[in-house]
Every structure is written in C-alpha cells, then in structure tokens.
C-alpha cells in the first residue's frame, strides 16, 4: 500500500471507531484542539476502585487524531490510575503502528493523549502538576 502513514490499523479505528460517544455522568472530562489543523478531541472518564472503569471519546478531525483517540480509549479502559498516568507517547505511537509520524502529524496522534491526561489530572486534583506536565508534553511534541 502506498500510504505508509495509513496503516490498516489506523484505517480500521478510523472507519470503525470504538468507544465513540459520551458517558452519562463522567467523573472527569476534557477537550482540546490542535490549532494547526483544527482537530478536536474530547475525552470522558469514569473511575472505580482506582481504575478507569469507563471511557468515551468524541471529536472531529483527521483520521490519525480520531483513530488515536479511539485506540487510546481501549488502551486505558480497565487500567489502574497509576498505569494510565505512566502511559507515554511512545506506547501510543507504537500501538498505532506509526512510530515515525513526522513533526507535523505527530501532533494529531498525540492530541488524544494530552486530552486524556488533562482529564485524569483534573480528576486527581493536580492542577499544577497538570500544567507542568502539559508544558513538558507540548515541548516534547514541538521538538520532536
């Protein structure tokens, strides 16, 4: 196939998104957009017994941002808060099958992670940590 970026796996999640929609009463939710291309991702989380008990995403944007969001919901559902907190971008990118997305498209892929972490830290009440984390995260993305 000619388009290396669009692995079967990304296309699959794009065409058949899992966990798309919204939760009735989420414990936490966040929304952000990628100013460069207008991708929008929203994440809603529910927690139980220190775990992510349920998660939904909603959004609008390119195949990569939407596939990434969908896949991320599957990656965190049922996982402990600690595990989700430690989830890093490399794991997500590997799961997407595209470790070398390039400087521009990587922002699309990582938008969902940023949104999910925001919702998580919000739930944990770590607003300052979130801010620091955010900055680091953004810097990493930019200097990729």
């Amino acid at each position: 196939m000619s388009s290396d970026l669009y692995k079967e796996i990304i296309l699959d999640y794009y065409k058949n998104p899992r966990n798309k929609g919204s939760l009735d009463s989420p414990d936490s939710s966040a929304r952000d957009s990628n100013p460069l291309c207008g991708d929008v991702v929203e994440m809603q989380l529910k927690f139980l017994d220190g775990k992510v008990s349920d998660v939904r995403f909603n959004g609008d944007g390119c195949a990569i941002s939407q596939a990434s969001a969908s896949m991320l919901t599957e990656m965190i559902k049922g996982k402990s808060i600690e595990e989700v907190r430690n989830l890093d971008k490399n794991t997500l990118l590997e799961n997407l099958g595209s470790p070398n997305l390039g400087a521009v498209r990587i922002k699309c892929a990582l938008l969902s992670l940023k949104v999910m972490k925001t919702a998580l830290y919000q739930y944990l009440g770590e607003s300052l940590a979130t801010r620091n984390h955010h900055q680091e995260e953004e810097e990493k993305m930019q200097t990729e």
Partner: protein, 415 residues
C-alpha cells in the same frame, strides 16, 4: 502540450523545469509534484547561485564601508531595489522598502497610516478573503484607536460582493484588501476598487503577496497607495519582503524599527531619521537575499509575466474541468478560468484535508491543508479547513492529472 490562451508564445516548460534543481527530487520514491506554490515557491538555480556567488565573492556589510567588497555589495543591493522598482513600475526606487516578508510590509504600512492619519471613529475596511497578515493588523489597530472595522462580504463563488463594498466603503479612511486570494484564487479588480476608495478619501493598501508572483503589476496604473509582497512566493529566497509606498506617505510616516542605518544623526537627546528608503531599513539588511530576490525578478521578467499569467490560466481551465469530474469534491472559488489565479481549494467528501494532503504526499504530490491563514474566510465557507493545490510556471497539465489521480486514490484509501 499547453495551448496558449493568448497570442504570446507559450512557455518552454521543459527548459523552465530544468532550472529548478528540486524538481529532480523524488519524494517517497515518486516524482515530486509541487503544488504548494501559494505557500512558497521553488527557486531556480540562477537565484541559488546568486546567493552562493555573493557569499563566496563579495559578502560585506553595505552603505557605510568604503572597501571593495562593501562597494560591490552595496551596488548589487541597490540595483536589486531598482530591479524591484521597475518590476512594479514604482515612480522611484525610494518608494521600495525591503522588509523580511509581506507580513512585515503590511505591518509597516499599517503603522505608517495609523500613527499619522487615524483617529477614533474613523472607518477601516477589509474583506472576508484577507490573509491574517492583512486582517489582524487592521483589526487590532481598530481596537486600539477605536475605529470602526468593516469587513466586505464575498459571495457564494468567492467573489467580492460589489454592492456590499459600495456600502461599506462610504466615508472609509482606509481600505486594505488582497489583490488575489490565497485560498480562492479570486483576483480583485484592484484598479476599480482603489478608484472608488480614493473617491471616498481612503488610503488604499493592496496585499500583493499572491498577485506579484503571477500577474504583471503596475502600481501607478493600479493607483494603490501601498503594495506589499514577498520574495519567497515569487522564486526568490526566504527572508525578504517588500513594501511599496507613495513617497509623500512614507516621508510623513514615523519609522517602524529604530537603530543603525535608519538614522542621519544621533545625539544624546534626539535623533534625525535618514532619507527614504533607508529610514525604514534599520539594522543590517538581508543583503544576500535581497540580491537573490533581484535575480528572481530577472528570471520572471525573462520568462515574461504576461506569459506566466496565460500559462496559469490554461492550467486553471483544465484543472477546473478535471477536478469537477471527481465525485464528492467541493471546489471553492470562481468557476471561470480567466481572471482567476491557479489556486484551488477543495474538500473531498467528509475526509479531513490533512488526510488528503498526507495521502497525496505519499504519491509525491505536495499540497497544503488547513485554514491557510484565512480563518474568517473559512468561517464564511463553513469549514474548518480545505485542501489547496496551487500552481506556478514550472507546473504543467501532467501535474493537474497527477493531482486528480491522487485525489481518487485518497478516496479509495479512506472510504
């Protein structure tokens, strides 16, 4: 290949292509089809070599030194200014100010006008099809001074609404508008609009970033008071823009950046500005690239702006035809190939423009996706973003066909 629309002989595309080293490059193993010319154009070897030649032979700071290198550099630099002056038919090279890009040029124009001529309640008029660089400065100065800020509508086809213009231009003090839209390809009747604006007593700023590369320009004939454009969009190097301004307006205006070279005398308590155009060129200029820009203009003049325009119209005619044949495509901008630039914005069904661009890229086709620094227009079109293919003198019908084939491939992959 191309049938010329007019009477002038058509371009020798193979010869032209061979002047652009990058066109020999492969992208993802495919021939590079470069269709992102509205963002920036490629450079012919003549331009690249002029920069190398400068650095290898006569690199020096200019104007103030008396040694040989400085003399050669000063001469080459100032003769680029004359080249530019002739290219747009300014009344004098004094009216040519080198900036770092068109954006800075528009900001300088905005400052020139706002510091001396604008007061609370004055009306500033722009259009819905402006690039951010010719929109945000006016929006912000309106806020700061308390001016009325009016935006002329564009119609369904992306053409300026003349009735709306006639209403909004009434009693305006400033009219800032683009000569050619970087999204729609629309070419505005700058001469006519300028005349109407002048009748109302407005100062007219024309954004020529997209027109100077593609159309013959005569600022005196157009009648505008300021005209801004960028080297990198017309075969020249990055880092150089240009502001043409009527001499008396530039004379009255305060300088924009302060420092070396733009002064005549500095004393402890006060400073006397330098003559035009240097009053507006503070600090060491981008000497190498101004010289490179001169070379780019020489190249364009040799090919001939009239012929470039006709070549692009011929491409437009086929592009409109061929793109329209693709199912589910939405094509923005004027549907007639004449009097429009070869810039095509479109959307393919519900597919995100970034996906369109990425998949085309894997076929070696470089287009742009996004809001193209024209969010107000995007809002009007009711979209977040579009895909945009833009052509130039080194493109031909094969590139149009490659684009269409690529779009069909996108549809295959993503549906």
């Amino acid at each position: 290949m191309l049938k010329s629309a007019g009477t002038t002989p058509k371009l020798d595309i193979e010869k032209i292509k061979s002047d652009f080293p990058i066109l020999r490059r492969k992208v993802h193993g495919k021939r590079l089809v470069y269709l992102d010319n509205a963002a920036t154009t490629q450079k012919p070897k003549q331009v690249i070599e002029s920069i190398t030649k400068y650095y290898e032979n006569y690199n020096s700071n200019i104007h103030r030194s008396v040694h040989k290198l400085a003399e050669e550099a000063t001469e080459a630099f100032e003769s680029s200014r004359e080249q530019v002056s002739r290219f747009i038919n300014a009344a004098s090279p004094k009216e040519i100010i080198f900036t770092k890009n068109a954006t800075e040029a528009l900001n300088v124009a905005c400052r020139c006008i706002s510091e001396n001529s604008l007061k609370k309640g004055d009306k500033i008029v722009v259009t819905e099809m402006e690039h951010h660089s010719n929109f945000v400065p006016w929006q912000q100065i309106s806020k700061r001074i308390g001016c009325e800020f009016d935006i002329v509508n564009v119609d369904e086809e992306g053409i300026l609404d003349e009735e709306d213009f006639e209403i909004k231009i009434k009693n305006a003090k400033v009219l800032a508008f683009t000569h050619m839209s970087n999204v729609l390809g629309t070419i505005n009747d700058a001469k006519k609009l300028t005349k109407i604006a002048h009748r109302e007593g407005a100062i007219v700023i024309l954004d020529g970033a997209q027109s100077a590369p593609h159309l013959p320009i005569d600022v005196q004939e157009l009648g505008c008071d300021f005209f801004a454009f960028s080297s990198h969009k017309m075969l020249g190097p990055t880092g150089v823009g240009c502001l043409y301004g009527r001499e008396h307006l530039l004379l009255e205006a305060p300088p924009f950046i302060l420092g070396g070279d733009m002064i005549k005398e500095v004393h402890r308590e006060e400073t006397k500005w330098n003559d035009l155009p240097w009053k507006f060129e503070a600090g060491t200029s981008n000497i190498a690239d101004v010289i490179g820009f001169g070379e780019a203009i020489k190249y364009l003049e040799k090919v001939g702006m009239e012929r470039i325009k006709e070549h692009e119209q011929a491409i437009s005619q086929v592009a409109i035809e061929e793109l329209s044949k693709i199912g589910e495509i939405t094509l923005y901008g004027p549907r007639q190939h004449y009097n429009r630039g070869a810039v095509f914005s479109f959307n393919v069904g519900k597919i995100h423009p970034h996906d369109v661009a990425s998949i085309l890229d894997s076929e070696g086709i470089a287009i742009r996706s996004g809001h193209h620094c024209a969010q107000v227009l995007m809002e009007k079109l009711g979209v977040q973003a579009t895909s945009r293919a833009s052509f130039y003198l080194y493109n031909d019908l094969d590139d149009v066909f490659a684009l269409c084939k690529g779009i069909r491939r996108v549809q295959e992959v993503l549906s």
